[in-house]
Structures are given as structure tokens and as C-alpha cells.
Symmetry: C2
Subunit: 472 residues, 2 copies
């Protein structure tokens, strides 16, 4: 932006706007437009019908499966129907993991079937079930501290329980058992590992999610028990007799597949080369219909973008909605997006990125990672969001997983933090279905994203943080 233009914008701003809009590049008219978007969304947005369409017409869409391709076709058609100026695909390539069969049962002393699911990326048990005695560990640290070789011929069982918090901060301390448990158990000689699901519900659903192997450590099968089944297994182990578990998993990682990020744009009226991005991930795990993870995020952000697109006058900057490919198995869509932008020198064009990938609960906080000079804009946006019950927080927060890679390259971000109190009840389970979504909560989120992204696209203030010089 030229110096003269900046001066003009500032003088207009001073002329039209109250003192609260100083240094925002926004005037009272802009605020009124944002408030109008907010209020239209609150009166009823498209979001629920979009996620209803995705979960009904596509349903589960594990990356690399035929349903992934159906989801990409769905998103392209849906974005087009929603009125985006441009809709296009960008390739994202990744290895494909497939779940074929999973079962577990206690063989002795108390024969019972257990509800289990293979972790994403796990190998299978081979042509036949694996049967061995269970050794329970209270958490991953206890497993790591087990003597070398002490699990030879055994199945490790890590039983720590994730704790529920509004902001989901119980996930981090718990998820290591899922991510690293197989490696740590294999180091001690275990034949397999089962963990208590990383989830907060006591419903009998096992929670899947990614795990990883290391090249130098044997690859052993890894699976999660539902919380009630973990309770059951712990109750059996507590009786002191050897508990033998039979695990039957068929899963495999096959060759690479190329899916796509699906992108819809509302072209900026003055600065089309500068973009604000919002989005969610299009893929889901295979167990549920991917309603809250992350059909909701795709629907909310697409509905917010489309609402901005319905304005008579587009904002100055381009508004870009991104439905990311394969977030679940390694943020492939977000990484591919960031790498493509870096290769094209387009990272500095990214003025603000935000992502909805924490379920369908209401937004309660606005946070941002922007230059100090841009905080007046964030504060002004916060005032528009305040009637939605959203507080502006000047510390903390983080970009979403798929925005992370471009943020790592220097792009600024905003976060609309959602109430995730029940998010991990459903996360990565068969129970992630449409009925878990409150349509009114979706409307509140559309209202927040539409107002946020409209104002971020309308201002000429630089949100900053890009490491490379801005292109003129």
C-alpha cells in the first residue's frame, strides 16, 4: 500500500469514525457492514445445511479413499453453488492408510469382547489374531520407565484418562500414549499396545487418531479401547490374575494418493493479491460422519465466506475459504498449501489466517498473532464480536493445525476459540454425527467468522509478521 493511499485511508477514517477506530483503517461504515453480516448470520446461516449435505451425501471421508474424492467433488460443487467467485483445487499427496478389521476380546480369566479401534497408521496383527498377557501402565511415563525387555511376549496397556476442559487442554498431556505408545512399548519388547481412548466421554466408543513409528523400532499394532472397556480391563487386571487379550487388527498403509485442497474465493475489490483465509479440513476419520470434525468447520467458514460474497461491494482484500485435505493424518493439506505459497513467494500476501477445527461449540474468545500495529484492528473487530459473547484476549491462543504451517513461514493469524467442553466426547469416534451439532451455535460461529474476515479484508492495515519483504 502506498504512503499516499495510507494517508487518505487514515484521513477518511478520522473523518468518519469514532476515536476507537483510530489506526484501524476502518470507518463506521465498515463496522456497520460487519455488524450487518454478524446479525444476518445470527438470524440463520447456511452452515447447518452445508454440514447436513456433507455428512449425508458423503459421510465418512478418510483421506485417500473413494469417499475422499467424493468429498472433493462435493466441496467444489458446493462452493460453486454458494457463489464464490473462483473455486479451484490444489493437489495434496500423502500415503494412504486403510482400516479393514478390528476386534479385541479378553480370553481369560473373564472372556468378554472389548470395543476397540485401530489407531491411524497402525499395522495389523498379521493373518491371525495376536494373543498375549496384558501389562497395565498408569501412563506413558510408566511405560517408558519399564525395564528393558520386560514386555517381551506381552501386550502393553496404558490406562491414563484424559481430563475434560473447556479449552481442550487435557488433550496434550494424554495424547502421547496414542502418538508414541507403540514405539515405547516396542522398545520394551511388547507385541502390541492398547490404550485407553484419548477422549472424555464414558460412552462405549473407541477414539481413533494418528500414531507414529520410528524406523529403528519394530512396528507393533496399536489400538484404543473405549473408556468403559478400559475400565473393564483395569478392573480385571486389578484382580491379580494374568489377563490374556486377543487382538485382531487388519490395517495397512498403501501407496500415495493425490487429493486436493478445495478453495473458494471472494475476489478483493482493491487488493485482490492480498488474502485473508479461513477454513476447516474436508477429510475425516472413517468411524463417524465427520460432522463436528470437521464438517462443522468447513460449513461455518464456507457459510461465512459466502455471506461476505453476498455483499454488494466486496472487501478490499480477497477472502479465501480453504477446505484442507487430509488434516487428520498429518496436516497434509495445510503443509501443501503453505509450501505452495512459499514456493510462489506468496506468504507475504497472507494478511490473516484462521481455521475452525474444534467442533461445533460456540466461540468465546478472539485471539490473534499479529504485529503490534495491527492490534487496533483486532480490538475493533472484538467490539463487533462482543455481542456474540466473544471476549478479545491479547495473550495466548494459536492458529489451527492447518494454518500452522503458513504461520511457521511468517503469516499472521487469528483464532476464534470455541467451547470444546464436549468436543473430546465425540472426537474421532463413530459418534461424530450431525445430531451433535446445535444449528444456533453454528450461526454464532458464522457470525463471528464473517465479521472477523470482512473487517480483516476491508482494512488496509498490515497484520505483519511475514519474514520476506512484502510485494508491492
Amino acid at each position: 500500500m502506498s504512503f499516499a493511499k495510507t494517508l487518505l485511508a487514515l484521513s477518511l477514517s478520522f473523518a468518519l469514525a469514532p476515536a476507537a477506530l483510530a489506526d484501524t483503517g476502518l470507518d463506521a461504515g465498515d463496522i456497520a457492514v460487519a455488524e450487518g453480516l454478524r446479525d444476518r448470520a445470527m438470524a440463520g446461516s447456511q452452515a447447518w445445511s452445508v454440514v447436513e449435505s456433507l455428512t449425508t451425501e458423503v459421510g465418512p471421508r478418510l483421506a485417500g479413499t473413494p469417499a475422499d474424492a467424493r468429498a472433493v467433488a462435493w466441496a467444489k460443487a458446493k462452493f460453486t453453488a454458494m457463489g464464490f467467485d473462483k473455486v479451484y483445487l490444489e493437489p495434496v499427496t500423502f500415503p494412504v492408510w486403510l482400516r479393514h478389521r478390528e476386534a479385541a476380546e479378553v480370553v481369560s480369566p473373564f472372556p468378554q469382547r472389548l470395543v476397540v479401534t485401530a489407531l491411524g497408521g497402525s499395522v495389523g496383527t498379521g493373518d491371525k489374531p495376536l494373543e498375549a498377557e496384558v501389562v497395565e501402565f498408569s501412563d506413558l511415563a510408566a511405560l517408558i520407565n519399564a525395564p528393558e525387555g520386560s514386555l517381551a511376549g506381552k501386550i502393553a496397556y496404558v490406562s491414563n484418562r484424559m481430563v475434560r476442559f473447556k479449552d481442550g487442554r487435557g488433550y496434550g498431556p494424554a495424547v502421547g500414549a496414542r502418538s508414541n505408545g507403540a514405539v515405547e512399548a516396542a522398545k520394551k519388547g511388547a507385541l502390541a499396545i492398547v490404550i485407553r481412548s484419548i477422549g472424555t466421554s464414558s460412552d462405549r466408543f473407541a477414539h481413533t487418531g494418528t500414531m507414529r513409528y520410528l524406523p529403528e523400532v519394530p512396528r507393533i499394532p496399536a489400538a484404543a479401547l473405549s473408556n468403559p472397556d478400559a475400565d473393564l480391563l483395569s478392573h480385571m487386571v486389578a484382580r491379580g490374575q494374568p489377563v490374556r487379550l486377543r487382538l485382531d487388527i487388519s490395517a495397512e498403509t498403501i501407496g500415495d494418493y493425490t487429493s486436493h485442497n478445495v478453495i473458494g474465493e471472494i475476489t478483493g475489490r482493491e487488493l485482490p493479491g492480498e488474502v485473508v483465509t479461513l477454513g476447516g479440513h474436508l477429510d475425516s476419520w472413517d468411524l463417524g460422519t465427520g460432522a463436528i470434525d470437521d464438517g462443522a468447520g468447513v460449513a461455518i467458514t464456507a457459510a461465512a465466506g459466502a455471506l461476505i460474497g453476498e455483499l454488494e461491494r466486496a472487501p478490499r482484500r480477497t477472502v479465501r475459504v480453504i477446505a484442507y485435505a487430509n488434516e487428520e493424518q498429518g496436516l497434509y493439506g495445510g503443509k501443501a498449501y503453505a509450501e505452495a505459497r512459499a514456493a510462489a513467494g506468496q506468504v507475504p500476501a497472507h494478511q490473516l489466517g484462521a481455521e475452525s477445527d474444534f467442533g461445533a461449540g460456540r466461540v468465546y474468545a478472539l485471539r490473534a498473532g499479529v504485529d503490534a500495529a495491527a492490534w487496533p484492528v483486532i480490538a475493533a473487530i472484538g467490539e463487533v464480536l462482543a455481542p456474540l459473547g466473544i471476549a478479545t484476549e491479547t495473550e495466548g491462543g494459536s492458529p489451527g493445525p492447518d494454518v500452522g504451517p503458513i504461520v511457521a513461514k511468517g503469516a499472521p493469524w487469528a483464532q476464534l476459540a470455541q467451547d470444546g467442553t464436549d468436543y473430546f466426547d465425540y472426537h474421532h469416534t463413530a459418534n461424530d454425527t450431525l445430531d451433535k451439532i446445535d444449528p444456533k451455535a453454528l450461526d454464532q460461529q458464522v457470525a463471528a467468522y464473517a465479521a472477523l474476515m470482512y473487517l480483516a479484508a476491508e482494512t488496509e492495515v498490515d497484520f505483519g509478521s511475514a519474514p520476506a519483504p512484502k510485494q508491492p
Copy 2:
């Protein structure tokens, strides 16, 4: 009871008790004993540990399977360990139904797997899956009103939703789709029927339960979809394109099996031939661990009976705890018990029968079906229960399913009505597990059953209603 003895009892009662105990055959000391039982139970009963033991050491115990035999052995050993004077088995014979495999998926236009479970008693789809177009009906009445032959080559789908009530009264209007749907669909030529689960939760569990065939109507497979899957199927059907469903069920009814009612007694000190009975059913469906249906009932009533057995002085009448066999598939245990008593002329010996088979929620009402002359006893019992939050209701109520058959032969009954608000969330699903039980709620029920049954066994008042003359 002789007239002289009655006079003696009455005069003692008048001498020792306040006016409220007139005509109850009870004195203040009896009330104090009942209050002591109540308060000891509230301080912590055995019930949770009993149901923990059953669900952990036996788990699912479908009638006629090896787990049924393990459950009978468990109950015999547990009752013995709990100190009952007599523990014995009585045979119960029934046909055995087995579930082998069940799966459903929409083939077109929107391929997705659906969560489904075969209804108890259903035939399978044969050696291979059955595939046909779905025809949706809003309820069983709509199916019954369909034109003859209109379902030829189709799968009927009945989508009515059970309504949640504290007393479970939503079950009756909804359950016909499960019980009679297959017959009605087959009459119209359907190849199979799927129904929305008879249950109130929106969690993705299908609810099983019995269905029946008629000799003159073709036997077609019958299955229930979870509530979210029923929503999904309805959303697909609403789009107006033909929806094709593939149903793959393997199930069979095999020859007869003899299981057992397991009975534990505290022998009456004066009138051992007169009995009060309490109990639950020992069998469960195969999907969950049968914690609330009806491990809780077995545990509550066994704990209450054992608590009475710990008294220094047993009550006058015998207290009999019955763990009924195969309630789920036709009240076989309750019927066998009643028929054996009728054949032996022992129905009149039954002074009061009660059953806990409505989950693990707290008791909120005492109801009874007794002679008018016995209502003062019920009222006195009600006063002991009132501090537990239990109201005495002089109208309504019903005996439980397994007490029903002996009540039909003239035995009097009492009901401790439980809060069943969430009972049908878990009922007949894989999610019927131990964690759904609040140990404190079990204690409240043990307190209520112990006080009720102690006083019913201590009084000599005749609860009446028996059709045959009382034996002296």
C-alpha cells in the same frame, strides 16, 4: 395366621406403637429396625461391588450362551458368599437365539455404512447380504396402512422416535415397531425391515430387543438403526431419489437350553412358609455388559436381602431374592417361577413380590397392589422410605416383568419406581456398562428395598389378593 395370634399381634402393636402403626402388625421396634437397615444401606451398600463383579467377571450373558451358565455359577457363588441361608437353582427352559454378524450400508445414492443391530429373534439375510430400496414409514400405523403388496422387493423402514419420560412411558407407544414391525412389513411383501432404535439417546448405538413372528407370515430379517443412522437414512430418503440399502445379518434360533433361576433366602423365624420376594434378571443382551439391565437389579436386591440377613433376628417371613433367567427374550424365568409355584400350590404363600428392572436410577415412588386391609402396612413402610425422597402413591404402578406372571396368578406386589429419565439411553445397547451406574443411587435403592422387604416380612398382616385359600 390364627385369630388369637392376630389379636396378640394387634395388642402388642397398640401397646408399643403410635397410632400410625394401627393395623400394620408392626411396632416401633420393627420400624426402628427398618430405619437402621435403611441408614446402613445409605452409608454404603454392597450393591456396586456386586454389579462390578458381575459385569467384570461375566459381562454380557445372553440367555442360552456359555456366559449364561457362567452367570448362574457366579450368582450361586455370590449369594452364598453374601450369607443367604439357602441358595438354590430352579430350571428354566427356552429356545436359544444367537447373533453372529450384522452390518448395513447404503449402496446408493450416497454410500455409507450404518450402525445396525439385529433384533432378538430375527432370522438372518441368508448366505449373502440382501439389497433393496428403502420405503420409509413415519410409524408402525403408517406401515400397517400401506397397500397390500406395496412393499414387494423392498425394505421397510419405520422411523418413529421414542420420547423421553422419567417413568419411561415413551416406550410403550414406540416399541410396537420393534415387536410387530417384521410381521406387518412381511404382510405387505417386504424383504426385511429396519427401524429407528427404540431408545432416547442420540448416541450412535443401535438398541436390540425382542421381536416376534407369526406362523402364517413369512419371517423376514429385522434390525434397528441407531438414532443418528436413522436420521441419516431419513435425510437421504427426503432427497427423493431411491435409496438402496444392503443388509447383512447372520442370526439363528437353535434348540432349547435349560438355564436356572438362582434363589437366595433368609429363612423366616416364625412363618418360613410365607415369602416376600425381590429380584432382578440375571440374563442380559449380548451387546453391553448388562450393568443397568439388569445387573443393577440383581445387585440391589441381593444386597438388600443380604442386609436383612445380617440382622441378629430374621423377620417372621422368609425373604427370597430371585435372579431370574432369560427375562429379555420372553420372561422365561418369571413364568417358570410362577408356574412352579402354582403347580405346588405355593402362590398363596407369596405375601409380596417386587422387582428391580428399570436401571440404576433413584427410587422416587412406592406403589403396591395389595388388599385394602394391607394398605396401613404400605403406608407405614412409606414413612420409613420418605427420607429417601420416596413418595407413597396409592394409585397406579405395576409389578415388574418377572413378577408379573405370579401376580397374574393372584400374588400381591409392591413397586419401587425408579427415575428412568436416562434408562432408554442405554437400554439394550453396547453402552450398558458399569460407568453408567452411580454407586450412591444404588445405595438409595438398597435402602428402600431392605426397609420395604424387612417390614413386609416382619408384619403378619396378609397382603392378600391370592385366589386360592391360604394354607394354615
